[in-house]
Amino acid sequence: MTSIHRHYNVSSANALHVYAFSVHFQMKVKVLSRNPDDYVRETKLDIQRVPRNYDPSLHPFEVSREYTRALNATKLERVFAKPFLASLDGHRDGVNCMAKHTKSLSTLLSGSCDGEVKMWNLTKHDCVRTLQAHEGFVRGIVVRYCGTSFFTVGDDKTIKQWKMEAPGYGEAEEPLNTILGKTVFTGLDHHQKEAVFATCGQQVDIWDEQRSSPIRSFTWGVDSFSSVRFNPVETELLASCASDRSIVLYDMRESAPLKKVIMTMRSNTLCWNPMEAYHFTCANEDYNLYTYDMRNLDRPFMVHMDHVSAVLDVDYSPTGKEFVSASFDKTIRIFQKDGGHSREVYHTKRMQHVICVKWSADNKYILSGSDEMNIRLWKANAAEKLGVLAPREKQAINYNQKLKEKFQHHPQIRRITHHRHLPKNIYHQTKELRIMKEARKRKERNVRKHSRPGTVPVVSEKEKHVVTVVK
């Protein structure tokens, strides 16, 4: 039945009487009730379930809030951008060439201008082994696909094969194989899967490892070649850069080369995209890099500009999304494979002309060898946190990345992301080049304006640098 509980409190201080009625009826009372299964976690290792209300009216100003977050993320990225990791010193002359180990991430080989080859342990930042491979420059170095041995070529007209393991105590450091060539070799590359390697010098030679004479030599006109590279995907194809400003394509199975494109200036090296079989990028003397589609050499697929001096080396990231280039202007730049300008530039005060550059096989690091005898280790993503990340950290990073992508066109964010401090000379050189380019453009425009329509055609930047394609 009905009853009343009456609580009667008396506060003696001011004699205020407070009464509260609470009426208890014996009836059904609807109470808020929740199933504990909905909010109690099963074990303490589970994440605490947090009920959320996603009603947009409760969370207003989403754009401005996310914009602020993006701005902060961008700023923080610049704050944490510390790409330089270590410098490996020990060479007694400029580092002329480098090679990644095919099976071990922590091993690096480098050859210097005094004929010395050094093997490095990257985790320890330490030189593991040193050998005098050649007299004069070590021109090229490459690791066999199985990772058990490596080849070097030098100015002493020899090709040498070396064991990867260091010789035992008391054993002399001797090559497994030595091939005496007729001319100087300037470049070297190994086939991806077979016991075949290619050298270049006066001509491009394909060698069988078992033989002392080349199984095939390609010549096309009289010139010297500066670099030769096997296609890592379509493994029978090669490309080489010649001193007559041309890039020549070869098929190992054919007796003659395939095609040649002549550019306005000489290409120093080239690199095939490891994930896109028909794309390669060449580092040119005219400060630019050109990405070509092998099937269409008439015009490059993309022109990558930003360097202010000759580009000496290029290497693709193993994901094939980006590549790194080394230049005579003492900087390294990272380009998107389809981006006209670099996304990143690395330089230090002491780094001189960068001669060779490599992108590590785990897509995390960049290695650069330069004139002043040092090899430098860089992060591929300047602001990336190295090591194992907690899941929440990872999520936050992903979210920030997406935010930056989303708001990348906003002027403030763009300004901050693109801002880089450059050495004075590079900065001024860049400015000068820009002015020159503008002037040239303006002149062309004027010429066009004052001549009969159609006589001065508009030539795109991509077409400008190709002279001819020779079949």
């Binding site: 009853s3 009343i4 509980h5 009456r6 009667y8 008396v10 003696s12 205020l16 009487h17 407070v18 009464y19 009625f21 009426v23 009826f25 014996q26 996603y54 989403e62 754009v63 809030r65 996310e66 977050r69 095919t102 991430l105 991806q192 995907v233 379509e234 194809l237 394509l249 098929d251 054919e254 007796s255 003659a256 395939l258 095609k259 490891p274 994930m275 896109e276 079989a277 028909y278 092998m294 099937r295 193993p318 994901t319 094939g320 999304k321 096989a361 785990d362 897509n363 995390k364 999520q395 992903n398 979210y399 990345q401 997406k402 935010l403 066109h409 906003h410 002027p411 403030q412 079949k471």
Partner: protein, 774 residues
């Protein structure tokens, strides 16, 4: 040069109509001519051939002499071994038409000789048919063609990768290394199915197992065993089916019967039925106690639960429709009274607390000691203090002294209600007296304490009022049922409280005689007392009552108003929950402690609005805003510019005004600006000026991949964060484009990828075709 001469040469040969074709010359071109000098000589010789032999010889000598003079060494011509009349540097000698060698002749010979292979024969025959063959290409050109062909081949070869490359470019996420096995535990099925016998021993074993149809994956039963397990004889199956059928039929019969019985309206029938059931159950239970005590205990527990449920419910409490009708009848009908009594007994029986009956006293003592867990009747002792509580009166555990004090009311009510309820109550009282003896002690003590503390005067007056009121209520004589009366009393009382409140207020406003102010006060009162009261059905009636009571405030004929209110309430049998529960405690305070009315009034005034008003008393925000807005509007409106200058084209000087025509001419009126956006919004100022601070952060032009700005805006508008999206969506949206594994070498794309893509593409195309079909 060489090419040209060669062409000439061949022409000459044709002139001489030696039918030896170019083919032969082409086969051995080097034999024919090498040098230009030779060629010259040859030309001459060809001419000389047509002359007679002697001249020929002389000339030959001469030429030899000349050539010897030149000192140049001539290349020896090819030697001829054929028997011929005349020799020439051409291998074929054909002086006459008749002596000409025809190709057909050669072929004939060849056909005769069996040693010549059939292939050559065929080639020769073909040659016979064809007329000429073009000269071979130069080395450079042929090489170029070779290169071109090779390049085409390579290009088509490499184009195989196109699909996978474009697919990777389009992919939302790429995981490197590409050919990676997904980490983590794999499902058992996949492991089992993926495993293959590799060693010869394993292969042998598996061959044996499969040959004998032995289980490989799930080693429980062989297929044969399973089949035998599943099998059942026909007879068995038939019997089983029949059983099932029977069971189903019986069930349906029972269901139909139950439904029929349920529909029967006769109470007597159900009563009998229930009784029978109960008897049956008891019998069974007795038996069960003997045979299966555990089950009996379970039954008991069930009963207990049923009882508990009953206790919780409102059944058997004389509150149902039937009970109420019985209550009305009870006055006149003995049977009805009996029935009600019976029900109450049932209720009592059910609501008895079984376990506590053993040591209930102690527990109740404890409960009484605990101020928070007081039983209902413990608080009853306070009744005299809070006379407005209707439950406190005439209820079970009243103090005997108080009962005496209230005896007149109780007596009246009991007399009228016919005593039936009274009897029941008395019975209960007898039961509870033992408990109450102890409790009353507590009560008396508490009362003493309270009496000391509270204002006795107030208490007295309240008591008096209450008595008066209760008397009036008794005089009404409407109440026929005790319960009903009680409920009504409660509501009455409640209204009385309301009245009291109003009275207090009236007292506060006593100075003011103006009726309008009184009315205002009334309005405030209504508001403060809570809108719930206004919401009740007959609020209008009560309001009227109140207003009436307010007007002759000084006279205060309270009883009559309460009577009226009581009347209006009588119709309702239940306590109106809303009305009671939502009342504020303030009301009660006023009633009991009129001394604090001033502070109470203050509190009333200090509601939100008042507070804000008080806080911003000084500044007139609204007028300021309006002024501001007008200023903004004025800035925008066009102003008339007067550009007239005195003196120009007219007389100048002090006191002279420019002429009207001039003024009209030099008055410039700007075009009115476009209408403001806020012109119809009185409480808003919309500034249409460009904000430079914001524009710093705004995108000026449409960025590249977007085609129109709605597209761009929509991408910007959709949030990514977990504040706006569910966990899963966030994970999906913020997936990174490239995922690499720490410390893993990423190999270049391998040929296997191509195969994989092909397979998947095949599958997709299959799916697509299926989709098209349906």
């Amino acid at each position: 040069m060489a090419k040209v001469s060669k062409a000439k040469m061949s022409k000459k040969v044709f002139k001489k109509s030696s039918e030896v074709t170019v083919n032969s010359t082409a086969l051995k071109p080097e034999v024919v001519y090498d040098d230009d000098d030779d060629l010259k000589g040859a030309d001459e010789e060809i001419i000389s051939e047509e002359e007679d032999g002697e001249d020929e010889r002389k000339r030959q000598h001469l030429l030899e002499a000349i050539s010897a003079l030149g000192g140049k060494r001539r290349k020896a011509l090819g030697e001829r071994s054929e028997a011929a009349v005349q020799m020439s540097e051409f291998m074929v000698n054909a002086e006459d038409e008749s002596e000409r060698v025809e190709l057909s002749d050669l072929i004939q010979i060849i056909e005769k000789t069996s040693t010549v292979p059939a292939k050559t024969k065929k080639q020769l025959k073909n040659l016979q048919r064809s007329k000429t063959i073009e000269c071979p290409l130069s080395k450079q050109e042929s090489e170029r063609i070779q290169r071109d062909v090779a390049f085409q081949k390579a290009a088509t070869d490499i184009s195989r990768w196109k699909s996978i490359i474009s697919q990777n470019q389009r992919a939302e996420q790429l995981m490197f290394p590409l050919n990676q096995e997904p980490s983590g535990p794999k499902p058992m099925e996949r492991v089992v199915t993926g495993w293959k016998a590799q060693t010869p021993l394993e292969q042998e074993i598996f061959a044996l197992l499969s040959a004998n149809k032995q289980p490989i994956n799930d080693p429980i039963l062989t297929p044969i065993e399973q089949a035998s397990m599943r099998a059942m004889s026909l007879e068995e199956a038939k019997v089983r089916r029949a059983e099932l059928q029977k069971a189903r039929a019986l069930q349906s019969y029972y269901e139909a019967q139950a439904r029929r019985e349920k529909k029967i309206k006769s109470k007597k029938f159900h009563k009998v039925q229930n009784k029978a059931k109960r008897k049956e159950f008891l019998k069974q239970f007795d038996e069960m106690v003997k045979t299966d005590p555990a089950a009996a205990l379970e039954e008991l527990n069930k009963m207990e639960v049923a009882r508990m449920q009953e206790r919780m419910s409102l059944k058997h409490q004389n509150s149902g429709k039937w009970a109420k009708s019985r209550a009305i009848m009870a006055k006149y009908n003995e049977g009805a009274r009996k029935a009600m009594q019976q029900q109450l007994e049932v209720n009592k029986h059910l609501t008895q607390k079984l376990v506590t009956s053993l040591n209930g006293d102690d527990e109740e003592e404890e409960e009484a000691g605990d101020p928070e867990l007081l039983p209902d009747f413990v608080n009853d002792a306070e009744q005299d203090l809070d006379s407005s509580n209707p439950w406190m009166r005439g209820r079970l555990s009243e103090d005997p002294t108080e009962e005496e004090a209230n005896s007149d009311t109780v007596g009246l009510t009991t007399e009228q209600s016919g005593g039936m309820e009274y009897i029941a109550e008395e019975e209960e009282k007898v039961e509870e007296t033992e408990d109450n003896v102890i409790l009353r002690e507590f009560d008396s003590r508490r009362k003493l304490r309270q009496a000391l503390e509270t204002d006795t005067a107030v208490e007295m007056s309240v008591d008096e009022e209450e008595e008066e009121e209760s008397k009036a209520a008794a005089e009404d004589g409407y109440a026929s049922d005790k319960e009903e009366e009680r409920l009504c009393e409660f509501t009455n009382l409640f209204h009385e409280i309301v009245e009291g409140q109003s009275r207090v207020e009236g007292a506060g406003d006593a100075g003011r005689t103006d009726t309008s102010t009184q009315l205002e006060a009334e309005v405030i009162r209504i508001r403060t007392l809570g809108s719930v009261e206004l919401l009740t059905q007959d609020n209008s009636a009560t309001d009227k009552v109140h207003v009436e009571s307010q007007k002759p405030l000084s006279t205060e004929n309270l009883p009559s108003t309460t009577q009226k209110a009581g009347k209006s309430r009588k119709r309702k049998k239940k306590i109106q929950l809303k009305e009671v529960l939502t009342k504020e405690t303030k009301v009660m305070k006023v009633l009991l402690a009129p001394t604090i009315e001033a502070s109470e009034e203050l509190e009333e005034k200090l509601d939100q609005r008042g507070l804000i008003k008080e806080a911003f008393a000084g500044d007139d925000v609204i007028s300021e805003f309006l002024k501001d807005k007008r200023k903004q509007e004025d800035v925008g409106t066009s102003k008339i510019l007067d550009l007239t200058l005195p003196g120009w084209g007219e007389w100048g000087g002090t006191g002279l005004k420019p002429s009207r025509s001039k003024r009209r001419r030099f008055r410039v009126k700007n075009a009115p600006p476009p209408p403001r956006k806020d012109q119809h919004l009185p409480s808003v100022i919309i500034s249409e000026k460009r904000n430079s601070f914001i524009s710093l952060h705004q995108v000026n032009s449409l960025p590249f991949p977007f085609e129109n700005h709605t597209q761009f805006e929509s991408t910007i508008r959709s949030p990514l964060g977990r504040t706006w999206n569910t966990e899963r969506t966030v994970k999906k949206i913020t997936k990174p484009k490239v995922v690499t594994q720490l410390g893993t070498i990423i190999e270049p794309m391998a040929q296997e990828e191509l195969v994989k893509v092909k397979v998947s593409a095949g599958k997709n195309s299959c799916v697509d075709s299926l989709k098209i079909k349906y």
